[in-house]
Amino acid sequence: MDAIAFQGLIGLSMAMYLWLISAGLTIIFGVLRIINFAHGSLFMMGAYLAFTFYGQLGLPFWLAILLSLLGVGLLGLVMERGFLRRIYGIDEAYQLLLTFGFILILDDAVKIIWGGVFKIPAIPPFLDGAWRVFGRPFPVYNAFVIAVGVAVAVGLWALFEKTWWGRIVRATASDREMANAIGVNVPRVFSGVFVFGSMLAALGGALGTPVRVVAPGIGAAMIIQAFIITVIGGLGNLKGAFVASLIVGILSAYGTLFFPVFELFLIFAIMAVVLLLRPQGLFAR
């Protein structure tokens, strides 16, 4: 019984990486109506930048995370201002293709800059160690990741529901022409939201640096996971994305333990069934 509960806790920390990456994807889709195929690559860039700042340059952990967020935010700004902005009007298939092009570029860029090797740096001392939970050692770092994920969830809720900035963004999401008419600078909101979403993905990647192996293909793997989650939660539905992240994260944790053969199939089957029966997502209002 304890083993089952413990595995759920492991799944919970896995779910938080998925949550951080799908939160950004969801916010960007909700406002810009763009599916950013390269969103997983931004997660990957966050991880590699954090590796450089923290693992190679030896900067303090917090500073390294902050710098990688800024770096990926800048990259997001270039992607939105330089490219996506010019093709908002055309068929969404081309938006997918453009961002797919970014995946190819970033994957190889990572290989060129960092090479194939990736050494996991040590966990910062103040987050190292383990607590005994359900009679097993549960890493403090996993608890830290869960805390950050929950904090981001609460922060996003407060941001969108309680602040002036959040109201502007929600207004733009529900009717961009009306928002424009009442004086909202829609292009600036678009850029801001895209950069913000990129930084959320980068946070997920950076947080994983001391515990997860990162390889050049990780961006593509993560984006497929994020697609599954945003579909189950409902495209553009932030609350849905949070719950779906928990479902997929915990299900994967149990899946690898109890039915490793069916795990991958099952998750895609759930995605297909949701799309067929409730395309608006499981948690649509």
Binding site: R86, G101, V231, F265, A272
Partner: protein, 313 residues
């Protein structure tokens, strides 16, 4: 459009076909291998573009049907070494899967269709990857013979050499290309384009839109299955990677490179895809960064692809 092609184009195509038949006398083993790959990707991409360019549905799951074709062909050839059965069985298996999954997929359009096909394709991939007893798991199936073309008791032709197998792929591909050309210029093809341009208008004109989408989906699946089945005897192995979504991206890229709204676009694109790769990898191992840059440039500047630059509008 290139449809009202001038006589010059017809002559050009004739010359090209002749050159393709003479190719084994001119080029070496490696180039011939490349030519087979180009033909297979052409067939794969033509089927994809019936769905994308002509019907307006972007599928991310074509690798699933490609994989089903390849695995079915492999299982058959391992049991009964007859290439007719292998290719026919691969196409049939992919066709059955396309009817079933297509019936479900065409309930949606746009991004929901793309996501649904992605999910179905990855379900096929996970079966290929995990069902070790049947598919060989991540090792795949090995030692698949390049079996002879055979009508039992009557006739048998060995195609074990690469030259001979090239002719098999060439003839099958040309037939598939010709059939697709007839198809897109038939009333069926025109109906699909009408659906792409305006679903509601087609509906008002009495077109059963969903049925036509299912037909296009099934044909695209058959072509993907044929391409997969042709690949198996060439490589003598199949691995689950061919059913992964990244394989689905190949016909998408080839079609985009060559041109979406020109019949020959996917063929030109398949040629460019392998040529670019072949040229770029001579200079650098990082060819995907260049492919990515080309994709970005095409989307930003030349959404009609390379063929549209030459096609008469």
């Amino acid at each position: 459009m290139a449809d009202r092609s001038p006589r010059r184009l017809t002559a050009l195509v004739g010359l090209l076909v002749l050159a393709l038949f003479l190719l084994p006398w001119v080029v070496g083993r490696y180039s011939l291998y490349l030519a087979i790959q180009i033909l297979i990707l052409s067939v794969f991409s033509l089927g994809f573009n019936l769905l994308f360019g002509y019907t307006g549905l972007l599928s991310f799951g074509q690798a699933g049907f490609f994989g089903i074709g390849a695995y079915a062909c492999a299982k058959i050839l391992l049991a009964v070494p007859n290439l007719f059965l292998g290719l026919g069985g691969g196409v049939a298996a992919a066709g059955v899967a396309a009817v079933v999954l297509g019936f479900l997929s065409v309930r949606h359009t746009r991004i929901y269709f793309s996501m649904l096909t992605l999910a179905f394709g990855m379900m096929v991939f996970s079966i290929a990857w995990k069902w070790r007893d049947f598919t060989g798991g991540d090792d795949g199936l090995v030692g698949i013979p390049r079996a002879p073309l055979e009508i039992p008791g009557l006739w048998s032709l060995s195609v074990a050499t690469q030259e001979r197998y090239y002719y098999v792929v060439l003839i099958v591909s040309l037939l598939a290309i010709w059939a697709m050309y007839r198809l897109v210029h038939s009333p069926l093809g025109l109906t699909l384009q009408a659906i792409r341009d305006s679903e509601s208008r087609a509906e008002f004109a009495g077109v059963p839109v969903r049925t036509y989408r299912l037909i296009a989906f099934t044909i695209a699946g058959l072509y993907a299955g044929l391409a997969g089945a042709l690949l198996t005897p060439l490589e003598n192995t199949v691995t689950p990677g061919i059913a992964h979504w990244s394989t689905s991206a190949e016909p998408v890229l080839a079609t985009l490179l060559g041109g979406v709204h020109v019949f020959g676009g996917p063929i030109v694109g398949a040629f460019l895809f392998f040529m670019l790769k072949d040229i770029i990898v001579r200079f650098t191992e990082y060819w995907l960064i260049w492919l990515g840059a080309i994709v970005v440039a095409l989307v930003m500047g030349f959404r009609g692809g390379v063929a549209s630059i030459f096609a008469r509008r």
